[in-house]
Amino acid sequence: MNNDTLLDAQGLCVDFFTEEGIAHAVQNVSFSVKKGQTFALVGESGCGKSVTALSIMQLVPDPPGKIVAGQINFDGRNLVELSEKCMRAVRGNRIAMIFQEPMTSLNPVYTVGEQIVEAIQLHQKKSETEAWNLAVEVLRQVQIPDPAQRVIEYPHQMSGGMRQRVMIAMAISCKPQLLIADEPTTALDVTIQAQILDLLGELQQQNKMSILLITHDLGIVEERASEVAVMYASKIAEKSDCKSLFDKPLHPYTQGLLKSLPRVGFSGKRLHTISGVVPDPLHFPTGCKFHPRCPIGCTDKRCQTIEPQLRKVEGGREVACWYAPGYEKHDDPKL
């Protein structure tokens, strides 16, 4: 772990012990987030990206979930081994999180000011008046008009975009080093989406924080992220810097995803789809988990029986596919 790495997850495995059996929600996931940069985690619903985020915050619902292996190093400390009390000092203060659904992420019985002030006073020694002034200040930072009035209003008096801004204000009120944004724009209008993302970018510049962006929207990733990991069925399928991933996707799943994106100047034929559905985490297919939906691997014996592990290929990129160029040359079992 070198100096400009803020968060480093190594071999993270999260299992859910359900009545039907053990569901491997996250399997052997490793990635690192650099200081001041945006790392994007992309994938379909249920691929394990949200669970990965929750495990960084140590918020995986237990029972039934449990982090069974791996470590998450944040600023020299392994979060997995941290006690609940130490973890509370990290949550909100060093690592903050924005949730997907702004309509339900604020407590309806308190004014937004009361909720921001509680977070501020928890992590910083500030008098009530100072905390209120700071709350107004962060609301101004997230570009809420007339923050001194909004701070004494209740969530039900605000629109979805406004509430998401409040959530962001709450998250950045303690100047965290890492902001986990779990699908921050999924529930918002497209116009508001762009505003929120611009805002996040600005705040990132101002506060020099890193963002772990979790999304299924590749358009956002292309614009905002510097590094990307594509997750499929609990594992990372491909990890790369943003530009080369969009220029030349290596994994067939990534290729499929990119082909399914509508582009400006798109000729009007039907959009490409990846056939099939995401496998059930209780019954993953043998071999490569993507092989039943893969245009190359569905007939290949090797793909059906042996699962490819994530390996470094040229350009510092990592991919888990037998057919990726340069994959078989690197027989280094370490990665």
């Binding site: 915050m57 918020l59 619902p61 029972p63 973890m87 509370r88 000092a89 990290v90 949550r91 909100g92 203060n93 903050a96 999180m97 949730f99 997907q100 659904e101 309509m103 339900t104 992420s105 604020l106 407590n107 309806p108 019985v109 004014t111 000011g113 009361e114 002030v117 509680e118 977070a119 928890l122 992590h123 009530e128 008046t129 905390a131 209120w132 101004r140 570009q143 008009p145 007339d146 001194a148 009035q149 701070v151 004494i152 209003e153 209740y154 969530p155 039900h156 008096q157 959530m167 709450m170």
Partner: protein, 400 residues
């Protein structure tokens, strides 16, 4: 970003205010609410409304104030609690208008805590310092015999413990507006003083049951899993026991005191509240704002009581209103059956029972008036509870 900001700031409408507005929309309910307030005033000022001791009397040329001297620690405690309660309501109204957020935020709980402390400490001190006086002087005979003069009596000039066998079992007349009972006590006086018993039983019993219900429900709902499963089975066993017969059995074993009755009703009726709170907590535990609160690093205490409980309290509040009516009813029934508070402490159910049991005759004024009092009080609480439920329900549907 540098637009001129509005000068006049106004607090948003809170959830509680929305419910209150919805609740008071109907004038019908406001009337019943007024009836309950009236009952409370009656109970608080009972010694000033019905008392055989005069406010002022001149004995041997000296002015005396027997009624005020006769007030005991219980009376003063009730006055103290009422005064502090009134102050709290005024404070809430003042806070509502306050525009300085740093003054308003979090102040409410501090105020409530301080006021509770004042009440508890005050009551202990009052009971410690105010001696029990027994003033058995018959001021009325002093006036008729000419020893004293210039007396000002309460509107109902009879004490609830005073017996007067000359006028026993007399129907309503100009002296005793609602008649007298089997030992010649004035029924109106006993009804007024009995309202204290009924209301306090209602409130304290429901207070006890709500607190137990909330704590157990919150614990089971938040923890989930095996503890929740076992706990809920225990609660179901409790619910299967017919509470009224359990109460009668327990009351038969313990001394007949008001406190015991409150405690027993409270300890046996918490299951409903526990179920409501558990259900709400199970739902809330996975809500986004609770998850968000956890992800901000808030301690469990704050999550449970600051963020979850206020969102789960609505059904408990509604249930409490019905519970008060139920407790008043249980107390009346216990007193009617002879398991209630010991005479001469007046209670509505006890007066009611005198009308039929003692002589085999049916004394209509002894059953009608306390019966009406119980009927209207229970009706008022039930109507208010129902209106509260209706006021909360649509909000729950569109609540965010």
């Amino acid at each position: 970003m540098t637009k001129p900001e509005k000068q006049h700031k106004e607090w948003g409408i809170s959830y509680g205010e929305m419910v209150w507005r919805e609740f008071t929309k109907s004038k019908f309910i406001v009337v019943w609410l007024g009836f309950i307030v009236l009952l409370f005033l009656l109970a608080i000022f009972a010694p000033f409304l019905a008392n055989d001791k005069p406010f002022i009397i001149k004995i041997d040329g000296q002015l005396r104030f027997p009624l005020f001297r006769d007030l005991n620690a219980t009376d003063y405690s009730i006055f103290l609690a009422a005064a502090v309660g009134l102050v709290q309501i005024l404070l809430i109204c003042r806070n509502r208008r306050s525009i300085d957020p740093s003054i308003r935020s979090g102040v409410l709980w501090r105020q409530i805590f301080i006021n509770m402390l004042i009440i508890v400490v005050g009551i202990i001190l009052l009971y410690y310092f105010i001696p029990r006086r027994l003033d058995a002087t018959d001021y009325k005979s002093m006036i008729t015999s000419g020893k004293a003069s210039g007396a000002v009596f309460a509107p109902v000039p009879y004490g609830y413990g005073r017996t007067d066998l000359k006028v026993r079992e007399s129907p309503p007349n100009s002296q005793h507006w609602l008649g007298t009972d089997d030992v010649g006590s004035d029924v109106l006086c006993r009804l007024i003083h009995g309202s204290r018993i009924s209301l306090s039983v209602g409130f304290v019993a429901v207070g006890i049951s709500s607190i137990i219900g909330i704590i157990i429900g919150a614990m089971l709902g938040y923890s989930g899993g095996k503890l929740d499963f076992l706990g809920m089975r225990l609660v179901e066993i409790m619910m299967a026991v017919p509470v009224f017969f359990l109460i009668i059995t327990i009351v038969a074993f313990f001394p007949r005191s008001l406190f015991n009755i409150m405690l027993i009703i409270g300890l046996t009726t918490w299951t409903e509240d526990a179920r409501f709170v558990r259900a709400e907590f199970l739902k809330l535990r996975r809500q986004d704002f609770v998850q968000a609160a956890i992800s901000l690093g808030l301690p469990l205490r704050s999550i449970l009581f600051r963020h979850m409980l206020p969102n789960a309290i609505a059904p408990v509040l509604v249930n409490a209103t019905f519970g008060i009516a139920g407790a008043i009813f249980i107390e009346a029934a216990l007193s009617f059956l002879g398991f209630g508070v010991a005479p001469p402490t007046p209670s509505w159910g006890q007066i009611l029972s005198l009308g039929v049991s003692t002589t085999g005759r049916f004394l209509w004024w002894l059953t009608l008036f306390p019966g009406l009092a119980i009927f209207f009080t229970v009706l008022a609480y039930n109507l208010v509870g129902e209106a509260l439920r209706d006021a909360i329900d649509p909000r729950l549907r569109i609540a965010t």
